[in-house]
Each structure stands twice: as C-alpha cells, then as structure tokens.
Amino acid sequence: MVETAPLWSVLVLPVVLAALALGAASLDAVLAARTAGRAPVRAAMAEPLREVARLLVQQRRTTLAPDAVLWRLGGASVLVAAVLAAMVIPLGRHAVSDLAVGVVWFNAMEVIVWAALWLAGWGANSAYPLIGGYRFLAQALAYELPHMIALITAALGAGSLRVGQLVAAQADLWFVVWMPAAFAVYLVSALAMSFWEPFDQPVQEDVAGGVTAELAGADRLVFVAGRYLLLTTAAAFAVPLFLGGGHGPLLPPWLWSLVKTAAVLGVLVWSRRRLPTIRMDRFEEVAWVVLLPLALVQLLAAALVVLVR
C-alpha cells in the first residue's frame, strides 16, 4: 500500500521532520517551564525559536588547533543522517523512497551517528568533547545489538525488509501486539541513539556538556537541531515498524502516520524528563544481560508465530 512519492517529496520530507522536531522542542520547553514553576507556560512554547535566533547571531567558537574539517563534518552528519534515515519512512501511503531494503537503510543511516559523534568530539581538540565522543561509542556498543534484533523481529513478521510490506502486513493486527518486547527495546534504543535522557552521558553537564562543550553559534544550532531530528526520525520509524503505519479508522492514512508519530515523540520527550541519567557503563551491562536476551526471545517467539500462522 506504500508507494514511492514523486521527486518533489524530497523537499517536503525535511519540512515535515523539522515541524515535528520543533513541536518536540516546544513540548520539552513547556515541560521544563512547568517543572521549574515558571509562568507563563505558554511563553515557553516559543522558547525553541528564540534559542534558534540567539544561536544564529552568536559567534562561533574556535579552539586551539582543532581539526576543523572533521569537527564540522561530525556536527553536520547527525542532521544529514537523520534526514536520510527518514527517507524510507512512509507518511500514509507515500514514502520518499520505498527501498526494497528500507529497514537496513534506516539502520545504516542511523549508524552514521556513531561516526558523527566521535568526530564532533574529536575535532574540537578539547578534552571534554573527546570524552563525550568516546562515551557515545561505549553506549552505542550497548544499544545497537538489541536495536538491530528489534528491527529484524519486525522485518521477520512481514517477511520483508521493505517498509511498505511491513505496513501492509499490519493491516489486521499491529506488530506491537505480538512483539511488545521488541517495541520496548526499540523505544529504549531510540532514546539511546539520539543520546537523550536517560542516555545523555555523551553530552552531560558532568563533562561540561561533552560533545557540545565547544560548540557555539551556528555549529551548536546544527548539532542540537540534528539531535532533535534524530529523535523525531527514530520516533517516526516506530510507526511503520510496530504501530501499523497509516492504518486506522476514519482518518486518512497520512494523518494517522502523523498522529502516531507525534504520540511516540511525545512519550519519548516526556520520559526524558522523568528518568535519571544512566551511566553508559551500567547500561552496557543492562543491555547485554537483559535487553539482548529479551530481544532474542522475542525474535524466537515471533519466528514461531510466523511458522505456525
């Protein structure tokens, strides 16, 4: 039911993603204002736009002997990878490109963030960003395998790596119903891959902002926007993977896609405010001892369902 949209959709995709990301940023600002007891909460909604304006006029920072090429490349790659990964996500009946190997494409683009964060940390030639970059790699080694198994579970349920087939296979029953563990693992890894709380050790205050420590002005804007886009993309991909894509009663498919994406995004942003930071060395153990076996058992269960169905 999903087909490749005409070429101009390439221009629409970043706009839709940016709008969703801006919504997430607004929600985050509102939640922060409410927690802090700051009034009025409504003023907080425009907070992200004010921050964008502030960063645009702020001067960029340079450090002593940075590797400028790698530094900028790393900062920009987060944003580029997020948009490229979103290429295979259908909005209702249309995706920018419904690749035959869409699930693997998403995975490959999202792994580019590994390189991006390490480069952004390394390039500044400064200790704290470097620590942040290495922290993300340690975290990545923890979340990536359970994440991949969760992706495979959904692909197994549809018998295809094509995102359109995944959506079609969920016409009657969403995958989340018989793959709840894979969905949970996916949500955890979505937060971890976009280094949001509770997985924000790479950019945490205890290392002066980690990877972001030396970023200012436009560089910081690109990086922070990339991080929001990455979270948005990760949330949006949960919809065709586990939540039936555009399937739903009454509303048109594209609206269902948007509603579901906004819901997942809202849950992720809300949970970031409720959960304390997990150190990546502790998460490492949790990921390998709990999440990975859980994901594998879920894969086995899904495989049995596919066999007897």
Partner: protein, 187 residues
Amino acid sequence: MLATVVSWVLGAAAVAAGAGVFRVDSMARATFLLLGSFLAVGGELLVLGLDYLGVLVVLMMTMEMVIMAVFMIMYMMNPAGLTPMSMVHNRRGSLVIAVGTFAALAAGILVAPWPPAAGRPPPDPTVALGEALMGSKMLVMIVLGVALFATMVATVVLATHRGRYDRYGDRLDRPRPDDPVPGGVWR
C-alpha cells in the same frame, strides 16, 4: 549512461580517498578517509543493483571504522595519537608491493577469459543471496557462526584479568560480587 558515470565517479572517489589515507598526518583523518573509500565501494554495489549488499557495506564499514579509530588511536606511540604523525613506513617496500598487487589484479581482469553472462539477474537479489547462503549452505553457516562465537568468548575470557574467583572470592561464597564498577544487574 548515468549508471556508468556514477560508477566511474564512485570508483575514482574510492581510489582517491584510499590514496589520501597515506597523505594525511592524523590517525583520525586516515581512518575516516578509509571509511570514505569503503562508502564509495558501497555506492558501487548500489549502482550494480545489489541494494542489500551495498547498504550492508555502508552499515558494517561505518561501525567497523569507528571502532577501529578507537583502537588505532589507543595503540599510537604518541599520547592518544593527538599529535601529527606520518602514516607511511617502509616506503619503498610497500610501494613495490602495492603497485605489484595492483598490476597483477588489473592484468588478471584484462587477461582472464570471462564467460558470457548466462541467465538473467534474479528479480530480488536479496532473496537470491539469502537462499544461496541459508539454503544448501545452512550447515556451513551454522558451524561458522558457532566457531566465530566460540572464538569471541574465548578471546574475552583470555583477555580479561578478572575471573569468578576475583569476583566471588576463593570459595565462591561471596553473596555480592566484588567488581571495580559498582551497580549493574543483580547488584
């Protein structure tokens, strides 16, 4: 026509990035130029219509080169590999080996009597690849998988300096393991 142009551009990019590895003076740049070269090769596979293999090369090589960057920098002779350093050693010997290998491979491509293409490419190369690997070769793949996994476990066991006696005491009767990193699962 377009495919031919893209294929040549990607090929040139792969070679140029590969050569760049030995021109730069930083371990980080060398690693990521090598990654750039691999990504161009992944692009070549996409041009050939092998979507799965192409995207897989991008996925695997990105992860692999980032992990490799960590190890290469860890084992540098200067602290953390942060200061500029030459990426070449044994210039003459390696030049001879590199040029010789390239010439031999290129000659092989030009001289070999390639058979004419028989049959047509399958409608879905990913399925064909999966059946080729997992069909008649299933037993080989299973044995390989177990062998690789056993190797990994054995390497980790040999490399770690702490065993269960360090964690649970000489009589293995400590209720909580004594670990350098506190916290985690079941602690």
